[in-house]
């Protein structure tokens, strides 16, 4: 697989490590009510779709950026690659 890095251009997937579901960007607030249940769902439960999937990849052997890759889990086709930082900011984080 070739991941088209937004800053570095097309890079081989073997330069990256795979963390998992993009929902891990949205870490629950540990001080809120029901935090234990929310953390359980956040840490352990997955949608695991067959088809389009948004997931976190880390450019370990490169610029060490975190990316959100939109990929098809049936064909391995990659549709879109974004910086995880931009995705988090677009949801109102780190303002």
């Amino acid at each position: 697989m070739i991941i088209n890095h937004p800053l570095l251009g097309p890079r081989d997937a073997s330069e990256f490590t795979h963390l998992g579901d993009e929902s891990m960007i949205d870490r629950p607030d540990g001080m809120n009510e029901g935090a234990a249940e929310k953390f359980h769902d956040y840490l352990y439960l997955r949608d695991n779709p067959a088809g389009k999937y948004r997931e976190l990849w880390y450019h370990e052997a490169g610029d060490r950026s975190w990316l959100v890759v939109t990929r098809d889990t049936v064909t391995h086709e990659i549709f879109k690659v974004e910086l995880a930082r931009d995705v988090a900011r677009s949801r109102g984080r780190s303002k």
Partner: protein
């Protein structure tokens, strides 16, 4: 028809014209007592034990494709019970004992061959960990031996003993481990289940569950609605997709694991050998091909095929420990979809929905578990209580903090 040596001789002398289909192909009934969704190894084993041991009647196995078309037909055929944790080891030792009597139980040749598994250790720390694991195995009633370097040299002179970076320090040997013929396991269980009256319905895809007041009353399929008092899902890599239809999210990700077979060679490898410094395991099939594998590709996949970087990684692991395989040519390779759980251990449990049961999360160790998985799942279905050897394999173990994490890497399915 019961198989026997005399029967084979008789058929051989009469042109092999008397063999009959091994199972029926019935039309689905309107309702059953038990529906098992998934006609793989675990599903068929569940049907067999439910009918034969627990006296279950009116059972159907629904399979989307043909039986045995999933991971039971795509694995590296290794059978062993060398786990370290309480929640696992007694279960896998139960499984190995069932393997040992499987062919007599099924009256079917599963080509069970107890040629042993040798886990190599390459550091003092790893040797200590294997000694500890061996003791855990002994305590569950399994066999385990810690070999020193000279014993390994005698047993496997072809290994690389000159590697300064990853020297062979010791090995954990389980002599009762081995390999079995994967397809024959599926066919043997299917035949036995069929003989005990189980309806095996192929090309029957479950498209949804029939729910009423929080109870599961049956399944919608491409062959119509089939009602059941108890519905038992057992679909390995497709677990998340099927249970999603019941509104459940599982602690499971589906990943691809590749496997490889070389051209046929003369007998050269005595049993199963695993490399402890890289991830590589190899055995030799009865036809002579070296059957080997290594790590997951590492990303979620339903593709049943992997990519080349892992091929290179696995082969370089093999070259590192067993340089002679560099002369063998790769014959074929394939991928299977693994239901990787969040702690690397499986589930055999009720769900929060009455009448709906779940078995899955076998990661890439499901084949060896086939008999015990079927037995314990049948026990759960028949009695509504977990079998003592599967009592920790629960869906709620994460929120209770009772993970069964053999490898100790946490909630990271691609690392288990």
């Amino acid at each position: 028809m019961r198989y026997s040596a005399f029967g084979i001789l008789k058929q051989g002398l009469t042109g092999n014209k008397g063999w009959k289909p091994v199972w029926r192909e019935p039309e689905p009934k309107k309702s059953y007592d038990y529906i098992i969704v998934g006609g793989g190894g675990h599903g068929l084993a569940t049907a067999h034990y439910l009918a034969k041991v627990f006296g279950g009647k009116n059972i159907a196995v629904l399979e989307k494709g043909w039986i045995g078309s999933g991971n039971i037909g795509r694995n590296t055929t290794i059978v062993r019970s060398n786990y370290g944790l309480d929640g696992n080891q007694p279960f896998y030792e139960m499984s190995l004992k069932l393997w040992e009597g499987l062919e007599q139980d099924l009256n079917y040749n599963a080509m069970m061959s107890q040629r042993g598994i040798l886990n190599l250790a390459h550091s003092d720390g790893q040797r200590d960990a294997y000694a500890r694991r061996g003791n855990a195995m002994l305590m569950s009633g399994a066999d385990a031996e810690l070999l020193d370097r000279s014993a390994i040299e005698k047993m496997c002179p072809f290994l690389n003993f000159d590697n300064e970076r990853f020297p062979i320090k010791a090995g954990l040997l389980q002599r009762r481990a081995g390999t079995a013929r994967h397809d024959a396991v599926a066919w043997g269980y299917a035949r036995s289940a069929d003989l005990h009256g189980v309806d095996i319905i192929q090309n029957c895809e479950v498209t949804g569950f029939q729910m009423k007041n929080g109870k599961c009353l049956g399944v919608q399929t491409n062959q119509g609605l089939i009602k059941a008092k108890k519905t038992a899902v057992c679909v390995a890599g497709a677990s998340s997709r099927v249970m999603e239809k019941a509104g459940m999210r599982l602690p499971i990700e589906s990943h691809v694991l590749q496997a490889f077979v070389s051209e046929g060679l003369k007998p050269t490898i005595p049993g199963v050998i695993t490399y402890g410094a890289g991830h590589f395991y190899v055995s030799q099939s009865d036809k002579g091909g070296l059957v080997f594998g290594g790590d997951l590709d590492g990303y979620n996949s339903y593709a049943q095929r992997g990519n080349l970087p892992v091929v290179e990684d696995v082969c370089s692991g093999g070259m590192s420990i067993m340089p002679m395989i560099g002369r063998a040519r790769l014959l074929r390779m394939w991928g299977g979809v693994m239901d990787m759980s969040m702690d690397g251990s499986p589930f055999i449990d009720k769900t929060g929905i009455e009448g709906l049961y779940f078995n899955g999360g076998w990661c890439y160790g499901g084949f060896k578990a086939t008999p015990a998985s079927g037995y314990c799942y049948a026990h759960l279905l028949a009695t509504d209580t977990p079998h003592e050897n599967a009592s920790q394999m629960r869906l709620d173990r994460f929120i209770r903090g009772n993970m069964i994490d053999e490898k100790g890497v946490g909630a990271q399915p691609n690392l288990h």
